[in-house]
């Protein structure tokens, strides 16, 4: 099963402390090494565009979105054997933020990826 984990945070948090970067590095190397983490990326604030479709009208707004309170800061794709394994992978990432980034607030969505990327159903 494949999961996407998205990390949402306040847009004005500033750069992460070196302790966080270091701890995330260690954790991600370990997760890649165990075959759990198969893709990941941070999402940049600049070079962002949003399309909205409302009342039959398509609108384009180019970023950066200084007024946005919360942004998706990054994602990872996990290759797991159970929902709880994905949850545990995400929990570890949040635990690292708790331990190494004082005052940081945010949330983390753990979502199973459906469709062809997921592979055939296993019975």
């Amino acid at each position: 099963m494949r999961y996407m984990v998205m990390l949402t945070m306040r847009s004005d948090v500033g750069p992460p402390p070196p302790e966080l970067v270091e701890a995330m590095d260690v954790a991600m190397t370990e997760a890649v090494g165990s075959g759990l983490l198969i893709d990941a990326g941070g999402l940049m604030g600049e070079d962002a565009t949003t399309f909205t479709l409302r009342s039959g009208a398509l609108a384009r707004v180019d970023g950066p979105f200084a007024e946005a309170k919360e942004v998706v800061g990054g994602y990872s794709v996990l290759d797991v054997r159970s929902h709880e394994e994905a949850v545990e992978g995400a929990r570890r990432m949040m635990q690292i933020h708790l331990d190494h980034w004082p005052g940081w607030e945010g949330s983390c969505d753990v979502r199973r990826i459906s469709g062809r990327e997921e592979g055939p159903p296993t019975s």
């Binding site: 190397t29 890649v32 090494g33 165990s34 075959g35 759990l36 198969i38 893709d39 794709v77 290759d79 797991v80 054997r81 159970s82 929902h83 709880e84 394994e85 949850v87 545990e88 929990r91 635990q95 331990d99 062809r116 990327e117 997921e118 592979g119 055939p120 296993t122």
Partner: protein, 417 residues
């Protein structure tokens, strides 16, 4: 206990068991004891986490509990030994012994332990089936039931296979070791062969009604990723990872919605898993980037990469694939390679060239080459416009395969000639 907590404990266990078991094996030097201690820690987690919540660092929690049990076990043994020693001393004997402090010091050095564990579970003293079962159990953290399901055998058979394997290892005096030089190369080959066997068991089930058993493939892929991370200086481990990522990228394109087998060239390439393809190509680049001479897995991965890079079947670089199969063919006597080489030569240089490769090994056709020799011959004859002969070969192939899905595919081809 709620189902969620139980599943959470199992998930943590699967993520941590290789490290916990290998760490314990380092200090106990006893596979059975190490696994018992690890199981004790798992049971302790199942008992206390539902009430206390999952600890912040569950891996460390499991390891700490298991270490405490290990030390208790040693202390009991120590006390027992001390009594024996006293008796011996009173009888005039004097034996040296490892001190308790030394044992405790050994607990925290866990680097490389997982790789040592893989060398042990793939030890040459064991049969290939035992190696696979023991590796899935101790490195993959799978239950005997899960392994049994993967290999389509009874739980008890897997349980017995694992106990027998542990006994064999104990009797042969095998311990956690980090071989060097030529022996390391050989032992790494053994580990890779086990991972490849597990993958193939899932990828092309030789018997039964299922064309593939995906869970085993994904488990093997995980093991290959682990091995590549644990031995990054060895080119071939990246080659193996590349091969499995690329093969796995086609898993869900290999069967039609009605569960029929779809051959590579007929597969809908939009259904290939492009994330796995990207990972496979990256691993192949790592293998080739080491500058070391590459082995059979890397060459096979390079072949798989030729298919992966072709956006349409007709864009496939068959000339390069034929050259890569020539390399494999020169390296050893392998019926499967010769059959695939015939396919590649047939596509690259025409059916006659492919038939020439097949006919050169015709004397060995039958048992060693099996149904595939006939299936490929049928395909080449069909492409050469020799429909009647082709149908006969497809029917022979269908009568030889034990896979239901493959049989129906072959019979369909026999109809169309």
């Amino acid at each position: 206990m709620t189902t969620t907590t139980h599943e959470a404990v199992v998930a943590v266990w699967q993520l941590e068991s290789a490290r916990v078991v290998s760490g314990l094996l380092r200090i106990t030097r006893d596979l059975q004891l190490a696994e018992d201690l690890a199981q004790d820690a798992l049971v302790a987690a199942l008992e206390s986490w539902p009430d206390d919540g999952i600890p912040a660092n569950p891996g460390a929690w499991l390891m700490t509990v298991a270490k405490r049990r290990a030390i208790d076990t040693f202390r009991r043994a120590e006390r027992h030994r001390a009594q024996v020693e006293r008796l011996k001393h009173e009888l005039g004997n004097d034996l040296s012994e490892t001190s308790m402090d030394e044992l405790v010091d050994q607990v925290d050095h866990v680097e490389d332990d997982v790789l040592r564990l893989m060398f042990l579970t793939c030890h040459p003293a064991l049969t290939p089936e035992s190696r696979a079962a023991l590796t899935l159990r101790l490195v993959g953290g799978l239950t005997t039931e899960e392994i049994a399901r993967g290999f389509l055998v009874k739980d008890t058979a897997v349980g017995q296979r694992i106990s027998r394997a542990k006994r064999t290892l104990a009797e042969s005096g095998a311990t956690l070791e980090m071989p060097t030089g030529a022996e390391r190369t050989e032992r790494l080959d053994d580990v890779m062969a086990v991972i490849y066997l597990v993958f193939n068991e899932g990828y092309a089930a030789t018997a039964g009604t299922s064309w593939m058993r995906t869970d085993l493939c994904l488990e093997a892929l995980r093991l290959a990723r682990m091995l590549a991370a644990l031995a990054p200086g060895d080119a071939e481990v990246h080659g193996l990872q590349a091969l499995l990522e690329l093969q796995a990228s086609r898993l869900h394109a290999r069967t039609s919605p009605t569960s029929e087998a779809v051959l590579l060239e007929d597969q809908d390439r939009a259904r290939w898993d492009h994330l796995l393809i990207r990972r496979g190509l990256a691993a192949l680049a790592r293998a080739e980037g080491t500058g070391q001479p590459v082995g059979a897995y890397t060459v096979q991965a390079a072949i798989a990469a030729c298919h992966a890079r072709a956006r349409r079947a007709e864009d496939t670089d068959w000339v390069r694939i034929a050259a890569l199969y020539d390399l494999l063919s020169a390296a050893g006597d392998n019926p499967v390679v010769e059959v695939n080489r015939a396919v590649a030569h047939g596509r690259a240089f025409g059916p006659a060239a492919g038939l020439a490769v097949l006919d050169a090994v015709a004397d060995d056709a039958g048992a060693a080459y099996g149904h595939q020799w006939h299936a490929v011959r049928g395909d080449l004859l069909s492409r050469a416009g020799r429909g009647t002969e082709a149908s006969a070969e497809f029917r022979t192939a269908a009568s030889l395969t034990r896979n239901d899905a493959e049989r129906s595919l072959l019979l369909r081809r026999a109809e169309s000639g």
